[in-house]
């Protein structure tokens, strides 16, 4: 089955200040100084439309609590002061990214307000501007179209939720991001992963982006043939992309099969015009804790018949996730009701067979019918039933278009309805910004080197083997390689084989290499370049650092006893070893080189260059045999 995947990559820019004010762009860990509370309301776009996603958030009527720092965020983040003019440093970075992705550049930048009223923006909208369009990026010889490159402000960090209150922190709000969207042309999970890797690499090569966890975020648009466009938000790890795509294909395929089965069973949309039935009486003496708690709090039990759905609610469509799970997700979101069950999982969760039979009887369920059961406050329970019926109707159509959030295991859950264009309004507080030809010509000189040029340089100037050069060019750590060679002065082949070989081998041996930061690696290469570490000892030092991430390269060398020896010190060791095996040497002559080398290496491995040791052993062997 074919799939179509588009990427949306959000990358934080490494600017001094935020996009619309002078605040720093670093996240903070200390206790916030103060909080304030707000509500958000709906607004209409200039075409007079209301956005469904915005309507949905508004319907939840939440209070937003913002945590802030007196010296870290200013009135702009608090929405107590109009935005300052767009940060020119961020605009320049976004232009460079757009140009590096071969985009057309707009003649005038218009900042928009994208309505987002989940509270993640104090204003109720995210400011965003389209900078470039119609570009492309080369992914393993395939030209993947880049639809748009936008410059936008990051949202506030959500730090908690309790009752009807959502807690956000303002430190991240307003940090400049570039958003890169590809056309939905990627046709396999692997290709999606590769494209994300290639774009991420290009971003890092511009030297204008932040690095580290949480500085890049991938969203995916995924559809299978006959399915619908589903947006998956917030994939933080590159490695997870192929898996998310694969599982989403599986989910959409599963939903299409359920649709076909429902059609075979002759279930029509009209059959789902069901009214909920109050079954509170049935659960008066229930053993279910969830049910009891809800009823004791004054709630009700509502059941609704889902004709023809028997067996389909419990069918797995992603590992551990079923159509029933999707209904529960919806009910939770629209009605904020937690206690929801479906007949395919009952009896269970303390709900007994007798209770199930009684509900079936009250609903008039036949053997082919399923039902959903909701426990909660009356108004919310009714809303939850509506959400379940809505999702059941969509099951007759196949795959509902929606925005989903990625779970850490690669599965996804419902997040909100797909937003439309009605949520874009002009930002009237910021004047349009002209982009001139001179400006673009000046920036052209700052673009990262294209891959072909890099390949030439790596093989000719750095002397990398063509295979290794190609490996480095495809690597996520391409920019790290360049820094280690150019800034630190480490030998190119050593850096390349460490990054592309040693790290892979260490991982295979179970060493926690994910603990190694760019700083760790640069530290190791710096020590090699200074002569404080021989290249043979690099794997051992990396292993030590991975296991002791708070240590330094020098600390590792000391702990492992791998301080390099001078030639004279080494010669002393060689002589000592050879003296110990003088008998064998006298007997076998130069043929004793092998065993002698082995014995010496056991003492000197990692403390002196291997070729040099070999030379010392030969010299000392000859001297000994000559009768020294």
């Amino acid at each position: 089955m074919s799939c179509r995947v588009g990427l949306e990559i959000h990358q934080m820019l490494d600017t001094r200040a935020k996009l619309f004010c002078g605040c720093p762009t670093e996240l903070r860990r200390d206790e916030p100084h103060f909080t304030f509370r707000r509500w958000l309301r709906l607004a209409r776009s200039e075409l007079g439309e209301l956005d469904p996603a915005a309507l949905f958030e508004y319907s939840k009527g939440r209070t937003f609590v913002y945590e802030s720092y007196l010296d870290g965020s200013c009135l702009v983040e608090m929405d107590e002061e109009p935005p300052h003019p767009l940060n020119p440093e961020a605009l320049e970075a976004a232009l460079i990214v757009a140009m590096a992705l071969n985009c057309r550049i707009v003649d005038e930048v218009h900042v928009m307000r994208k309505i987002v009223i989940d509270g993640s923006n104090t204003t109720g909208f995210q400011r965003t501007a389209l900078i470039g369009f119609d570009g492309w990026v080369d992914v393993e010889g395939k030209r993947v179209p880049v639809s748009t490159v936008c410059l936008e402000e990051d949202a506030a960090r959500k730090v908690g939720e309790r009752g009807g209150e959502v807690l956000y922190r303002l430190d991240r709000l307003g940090v400049p991001l570039v958003e890169i969207s590809t056309a939905p042309v990627l046709s396999s999970p692997e290709e999606a992963g590769l494209a994300a890797l290639r774009i991420g690499q290009l971003l890092r090569m511009t030297g204008r982006v932040k690095r580290g966890l949480g500085t890049i975020r991938q969203d995916l648009n995924i559809s299978v043939e006959g399915g619908a466009r589903v947006e998956v938000k917030g994939v933080q790890e590159l490695e997870l992309i192929p898996k998310v795509v694969e599982l989403e294909i599986q989910r959409q395929r599963g939903l299409l099969e359920i649709r076909d089965e429902l059609r075979r069973r002759g279930v029509s949309p009209g059959a789902l015009d069901q009214r909920p039935v109050d079954v509170t009486e049935v659960f008066k003496g229930t053993n279910s804790r969830v049910a009891r708690r809800a009823l004791e709090a004054g709630g009700v039990a509502l059941a609704v018949k889902l004709p023809g759905f028997a067996g389909l609610l419990g069918r797995e469509i992603q590992p551990g996730r079923r159509l029933g799970t999707e209904m529960a997700d919806r009910a939770r979101y629209w009605a904020e009701v937690g206690g929801i069950f479906h007949s395919d999982e009952l009896p269970g969760y303390g709900i007994g067979g007798g209770e199930v039979e009684e509900v079936r009887r009250l609903l008039g369920c036949g053997p082919g019918d399923a039902f959903a059961l909701v426990f909660g406050e009356p108004r919310k329970a009714r809303a939850a039933v509506e959400a379940v019926l809505e999702r059941a109707r969509e099951a007759l159509e196949g795959v509902p278009p929606e925005t989903r959030a990625a779970n850490p295991d690669g599965t996804t859950r419902f997040m909100r309805p797909m937003p439309g264009r009605a949520r874009m309004y002009p930002e009237t507080d910021i004047r349009p910004i002209p982009i001139t030809g001179e400006m673009l010509a000046r920036l052209a000189a700052k673009l990262p080197e294209p891959p072909e040029v890099k390949y030439e340089r790596f093989t000719k100037v750095y002397g990398l083997h063509p295979d290794l050069a190609r490996k480095v060019l495809r690597s996520y750590r391409l920019d790290l390689f360049e820094r280690a060679v150019a800034e630190v002065g480490a030998p190119p082949t050593l850096v390349a084989s460490t990054l592309e070989g040693t790290l892979v081998e260490l991982r295979r041996d179970g060493v926690p290499v994910q603990n190694l930061t760019d700083e760790h690696l640069l530290d190791v290469f710096r020590l090699v370049a200074r002569g404080g570490l021989v290249k043979e000892a690099v794997p051992a030092v990396l292993k030590y650092l991975a296991e002791n991430p708070s240590s330094t390269a020098e600390g590792a060398v000391r702990a492992l006893g791998l301080e390099p020896l001078s030639v004279e010190e080494a010669r002393g060791v060689v002589r000592e070893v050879l003296r110990g095996m003088e008998g064998v040497i006298r007997e076998r002559g130069m043929a004793a080189f092998g065993p002698a080398m082995g014995a010496v290496m056991a003492r000197l491995r990692g403390r002196l260059d291997g070729a040099l040791i070999s030379k010392l052993v030969r010299e000392e062997l000859e001297r000994l045999l000559k009768g020294g």
Binding site: E46, T122, F133
Partner: protein, 454 residues
């Protein structure tokens, strides 16, 4: 075919293609870039020959008309200024509250042509903006005029006062809410306090520091808090209701004669000066807590209106090196009153003293208030103050300079002669003066100390 706001090159390109704003167009730029979208009107600012196109993804982009190789009209969209607001369904038996729109951020929406805001104010729209009102009040509304706050004049004050008096007399609402731009709201609030001598309910000025077209607008909660005040307040004075802090949950009711806009942009820009606020409204509980120990209660004896303001009154800020010509000019031009925002306890330079004397001799009332804003003028302490008093200057006591200006305008419109004007000016008319300066009138500002890293 309209090329609204566009320059010559753009207009030419559009007319050749038979295209205009709100048409869907397809164009090719000189670098081969293809753009398809809806052509929007040109905002007033920026290069008028850059086309603004709304792409299908909702983004607006600017494309230079001089770089366009070809442009084709492919369709049209009908812009609408929003669907009609749904019919409100207020609970029966609620008290009536009347809204008077005068302009400003609160009663406006964005005009996407200019990027500016345009006014709107009907009961339906108020309910649609603040659905919570359906449980609070039966709302009626009218637009009296649409004036930016900075364009308000004493004549507008009189017009508002007359309208408010009329509404109270003929419709008997629990309170009247005046939607007003925030920049000069304090002046209007003071003017209404002097003009409306007796009222059956409060007149409440309300505004917004964030326009109503954004989800984070403060207009809805300010309006709700104003409506709660209209319905629940025991006082019948001219007040301002705005945010008490950055939270959407607390609102202060400030006395109109004591309030001043003290910040350019914050929601809680309004502060009571030389007084504590009259009351506080809390949301979502809709409670009203009264702080004031003395206030003018609701009257059942009918409205007393004393409108009219003398327009030949000036408010002048003293600055180092100020020339006496400034004052002389006003006297020469026939001004009848001048409020000088002096320094400290109420001083101006020695150069100005003869001009003050001359003004007084010519029957002009010269009032001295303080540019310190907080505190009371006292012209007996330093020699300069004594000189000014001798020259005829009138101390504004603890009145805000703006309130002193409005009061002097009001006094001069009704007093017979200078002497009566001065006497009336120094009489407490609407709680604008207080013989006691209590410690808590001046809020402490030391909260930041615990966060300063040392």
């Amino acid at each position: 075919m309209s090329a609204e706001g566009y320059g010559e090159a753009a207009a030419e390109l559009l007319s050749a293609a038979g295209a205009g704003v709100f048409d869907e167009v397809e164009l090719e730029r000189d670098d081969g870039a293809l753009v398809r979208g809806v052509l929007l009107p040109r905002p007033q600012y920026g290069d008028p020959n850059v086309l603004v196109v709304k792409l299908p993804n909702g983004y607006n982009v600017g494309i230079d008309a001089r770089r366009v190789k070809s442009l084709r009209r492919v369709g049209r969209v009908e812009p609408s200024r929003g669907a009609a607001a749904p019919a409100p369904s207020p609970k029966p038996g609620l008290p009536r509250v009347h809204f008077v729109g005068t302009g400003g951020t609160i009663a406006s929406r964005v005009d996407y042509v200019s990027g500016a805001v345009y006014p709107y104010f009907t009961a339906e729209e108020i309910y649609s903006m603040v659905p919570e009102l359906e449980d609070v009040a039966l709302v009626s509304a009218e637009t009296l005029f649409n004036v930016f706050s900075e364009d308000m004049t004493p004549r507008h004050w009189s017009a508002i006062a007359e309208r408010v008096a009329k509404v109270f007399e003929s419709e008997g609402p629990a309170g009247v809410i005046v939607a007003h731009g925030t920049d000069t709201m304090g002046y209007t609030a003071a003017a209404l306090a002097f003009a409306l001598r007796r009222l059956p309910g409060p007149v409440i000025l309300v505004g917004a520091q964030r326009s109503s077209d954004r989800p984070s607008t403060d207009s809805a909660t300010n309006v709700l808090a104003a409506a709660v005040t209209a319905v629940k307040a025991p006082f019948a004075e001219s007040v301002v209701v705005m945010h008490a802090g950055p939270d959407d949950t607390a609102f202060y009711v400030h006395r109109g004669v004591r309030v001043r806009k003290m910040h350019t942009s914050r929601r809680d820009a309004f502060r009571s000066v030389n007084a504590v606020p009259l009351a506080k409204v809390e949301l979502p509980s809709r409670e009203l807590k009264v702080f004031a120990r003395r206030f003018t209660p609701r009257s059942s004896e009918g409205v007393v209106l004393e409108g009219g303001f003398e327009e030949r009154v000036a408010l002048v800020k003293f600055y180092p090196g100020m020339s006496p010509e400034v004052l002389d000019f006003l006297v020469d031009r026939g001004y009848r009153g001048v409020v000088i925002e002096g320094t400290g306890l109420g001083h101006v330079s020695a150069d100005l003293v003869p001009s003050v004397r001359r003004a007084t001799e010519e029957g002009v009332v010269v009032v001295v208030a303080s540019q310190c804003i907080w505190g009371r003028v006292n012209m007996n302490v330093y020699r300069r103050g004594v000189e000014l008093l001798k020259a005829g200057a009138v101390p504004a006591e603890d009145m805000l300079p703006e309130t002193a200006f409005v009061k002097l305008s009001w006094v001069l419109a009704r007093a017979q002669g200078r002497e009566e004007a001065v006497r009336l000016f120094l009489t407490n008319v609407a709680h604008e003066m207080d013989e006691r300066s209590e410690e808590w009138y001046y809020p402490p500002l030391n909260y930041f100390e615990r966060y300063v890293r040392g």
